[in-house]
Amino acid sequence: MSLSPANPSPQASLAQPLLLACGNPLRGDDGVGWRIADTLAITPSTPPLHVILSQQLLPEHAEPISAADLVIFVDCSALTPHGVVSVIQIEPASSLPRIFTHHLDPASLLRLTVDLYGRIPSRSILVTVGGQEFELSEELSPPVAAAIPAAIALILREFQLQQAKNPAQQMKAAGPVEAP
C-alpha cells in the first residue's frame, strides 16, 4: 500500500480526444448528446477517442479532461433555435459559480481542471443542438434527430483539424465509453 499523496497523471492517455456527452436520454431532446456519441461510435471514420456519457458535468470529469488534447462537450441547448447545430470554443471561466452542489458548466469545469491539474486541452469546444421537446421520452423531436448528421460532420472535422495540427501523433486504441 502506498501512503504518499496521489499524483495526477496528466500525460496518462497522451492526446487522445475526449468527447463528453451531456444530457438525459429520458427527457426527449435533452438526450441528443448521448445519441450523437452513439452515432459516432458506429461511424467508420471516427478516430479512436475517449467517450464519457453523463447527465451533467461533474468535478470528477476534470481528471480525464486534463489528460486530453482536445475535448468536445456535446449537449442540447434550450436557448438556440430548434434543430440548429452550434459550436463555440470554450475557455476556462474567470469567475466561478457561488453555489455549487455537484454539477458544472463547461467553462467552470475547465477552470477547475486548470486549478486541480495545471493542464487543459489545447482546444475545447462545445457543440450543441437546439432542443424543444423535454418531456419524458426516449425519442428526439424530428428537427433534432435531423440535425445529428451535421453535428457528427462538425465533430469529425474537429478531429481532422486536431490530427493535422499534430501530424506526428498516431491515435492509439480507443478509450472506454463511460456511462453515468
Binding site: 496521489a6 447527465q55 468535478p59 481528471e63 466561478l96 455549487f100 455537484h102 477552470r111 486549478d115 456511462a179
Partner: protein, 474 residues
C-alpha cells in the same frame, strides 16, 4: 422585540429545505425549524406494481445513493420470496454498497463541507466552495475528486452505470464478476489509500480549530441506531440493528428488519414533509435518535479491518462513552471511507468472488417483507406488502435523513442560540446554522422524496409573526 429568521434555501445539501428561527422578546433564538418543503410520494405510486420491479423503481428516488435503495428494496423482496442469496452475490453487493458509501462521503466531505473546514465558517461565501478549496489546497481537492471517482468507477464496473445501476435484483445480482474487472478494482486500491490517508491526516490537523463548533453543533445526549456485524464490528449490508442510549447502554440489539416496526414509530410535524422516526418505548420526541457515520462508530466496538480499527480506537478516545457532538460526523465519514477501501480490497482479493452462482430465484412465498441496509447517511428501511400475485399493496420507507430529522432540528436550535445574535443576519452566523445540517449530510430527495437541488432560506420572525429579515440562496 422577538422575530423570525428564515434561511431559504439551505445550501450545499442534497435537496431543498428552509430554516426558520424564532426569537423571543429578549432577542434570543427560542425556536428553530428545519423544513423540508417538497413531497414526492414513491410509496404511493409503487402500489400496483409487481414487487420484483421495486428495486429498480426505488433506486430512482436518489441519484446519490441509489445502491442503498437497491439493496434495501432487494432484501425486502427476498423476504417476500423467502430466499437466501448465494454467498458470492452477498459479497458483491456488500462491495457495491461500500463503493457507494465512499463516493457519497467524498461528495459530502470534500465538495460540500471541506470549504467550511479549510477556509473557515466566516470566509467569503464566494470562495467557500470546492473551487475555493482547490485554490488553497489543490492536493486535498485532487484527493476528494479521486476518491469520488474511485467509488463511482467501482459502481460502474459492477453495475454498468454510475447512477441507477440495475445489477442488484431480488435474489442476488444479474451477472457474476469477471477477473478483468476484479483486477482493475484492485489496481485502484493503493491510490485510494493514499488519498484517504491524506484527508484523515489533514482533518486531524485542523479539527481543533473548530472546538467551539464541535461543542455546539447538535451536541446533546441522545440515542444512536445502526447496523453491526456478528462480531459487533462495522457492518453496512448484512448485519442486525442495534440502538444505544447516550451512555452507550444497549436498548435494542440483534434486531431484524422485520422487527423494526415493533420498536420504532414515525411522527409527523405540520411544518415539514419529512417524518420524525422515534423509539416507541421512549415516545416522541424523547425517543428520537441519530443514524449515520457517527452512530455507526458509536454502536460498533471496532471496525473489523486493520487500518480502520486503529482509527476507530482513536475516535473513541474523543469521549468517555458515545461521541455526542454531530460535528464528528465529518471524522466518522472519513473512517467509513477508510473502512470501505479495506473492505473492498478484502472482498476482491477473495478467490470465491468470481463464483458464477450469484442469483437465487423464487416467487411469492410471503405477503410481507422488510429489508435494511446502511446507506451512507445511515440506516435505510424498506417494508412492503403484496398480494398473492406479487402486486404491491403497500410500501413504507424509513429513510436515514428522516431518522436524523429531530436531531437536525435540535441542532439548528442549539447552533442558532449560540451564533445568531441580534436582529441582523450576518453570513458567518447563518453559515454555521447551515453547517450543522451539513454535518448530517442530509439527502432531502430521499427523505422527502423531493425533486431538485437544494436551495435554502433563513427567515427571522417576530413573536407577532412578522418577518424581520430573510436570507435566500440558490
Amino acid at each position: 422585540m422577538s422575530q423570525t429568521i428564515t434561511i431559504d434555501p439551505v445550501t450545499r445539501l442534497e435537496g431543498h429545505g428552509k430554516i426558520t428561527l424564532k426569537t423571543n422578546d429578549q432577542g434570543e433564538v427560542s425556536e428553530a425549524y428545519f423544513t423540508v418543503t417538497q413531497v414526492r410520494g414513491f410509496e404511493k405510486f409503487s402500489q400496483g406494481r409487481p414487487f420484483y420491479e421495486m428495486p429498480g423503481l426505488m433506486a430512482r428516488i436518489c441519484g446519490i445513493c441509489p445502491v442503498s435503495h437497491l439493496l434495501a428494496s432487494a432484501k425486502a423482496c427476498e423476504a417476500i420470496m423467502s430466499v437466501t442469496i448465494p454467498p458470492t452475490a452477498a459479497k458483491l453487493r456488500s462491495a457495491l454498497n461500500m463503493a457507494q458509501t465512499i463516493q457519497s462521503h467524498a461528495l459530502s466531505f470534500f465538495y460540500l463541507s471541506s470549504p467550511d473546514l479549510l477556509l473557515g465558517m466566516d470566509a467569503d461565501p464566494a470562495d467557500r466552495n470546492i473551487f475555493g478549496v482547490v485554490k488553497v489546497d489543490p492536493e486535498l481537492g485532487r484527493a476528494g475528486v479521486a476518491l469520488r471517482r474511485f467509488g463511482q468507477h467501482i459502481i460502474e464496473l459492477l453495475g454498468k452505470k454510475r447512477i441507477h445501476p440495475g445489477w442488484v435484483v431480488p435474489g442476488g445480482v444479474t451477472e457474476p464478476l469477471d477477473s478483468a474487472k476484479r483486477d482493475e478494482i484492485l489496481a485502484m486500491i493503493p491510490e485510494a489509500y493514499a488519498n484517504i490517508r491524506l484527508a484523515l491526516n489533514w482533518y486531524k490537523r485542523i479539527a481543533d480549530r473548530f472546538r467551539d463548533e464541535a461543542d455546539h453543533f447538535a451536541n446533546f445526549p441522545g440515542a444512536f441506531l445502526g447496523m453491526v456485524g456478528e462480531d459487533n464490528g462495522l457492518e453496512f449490508t448484512d448485519g442486525k440493528l442495534r440502538l444505544i442510549d447516550a451512555t452507550g447502554k444497549i436498548l435494542v440489539d440483534k434486531l431484524e428488519a422485520a422487527q423494526f416496526d415493533d420498536h420504532f414509530g414515525e411522527a409527523v410535524e405540520p411544518y415539514s414533509y419529512m417524518k420524525f422516526p422515534y423509539y416507541k418505548p421512549l415516545g416522541y420526541p424523547d425517543g428520537s435518535y441519530r443514524v449515520g457515520p457517527l452512530a455507526r462508530l458509536n454502536i460498533a466496538t471496532h471496525a473489523g479491518t486493520p487500518l480502520a480499527d486503529i482509527e476507530v480506537k482513536e475516535f473513541k478516545q474523543l469521549a468517555n462513552g458515545p461521541v455526542l457532538g454531530s460535528f464528528y460526523f465529518h471524522h466518522a465519514r472519513l473512517i467509513d471511507i477508510l473502512y470501505g477501501i479495506e473492505f473492498i480490497e478484502r472482498i476482491f482479493s477473495d478467490p470465491t468472488i468470481l463464483d458464477t452462482h450469484v442469483r437465487a430465484t423464487a416467487g411469492v412465498n410471503r405477503l410481507e417483507g422488510s429489508g435494511v441496509a446502511e446507506a451512507p447517511r445511515g440506516t435505510l428501511m424498506h417494508h412492503y406488502k403484496v398480494d398473492e400475485n406479487g402486486q404491491m399493496l403497500w410500501a413504507n420507507l424509513v429513510i436515514a435523513t428522516g431518522q436524523n430529522n429531530n436531531a437536525m432540528n435540535r441542532g439548528v436550535l442549539q447552533t442558532a442560540q449560540r451564533y445568531v445574535k441580534g436582529d441582523k443576519l450576518a453570513d458567518g452566523m447563518l453559515n454555521r446554522v447551515e453547517a450543522v445540517i451539513r454535518t448530517f449530510d442530509p439527502c432531502l430527495s430521499c427523505s422527502t422524496h423531493a425533486f431538485g437541488q437544494m436551495p435554502l432560506e433563513i427567515k427571522l420572525v417576530a413573536p407577532d409573526g412578522s418577518t424581520l429579515d430573510t436570507i435566500r440562496r440558490g
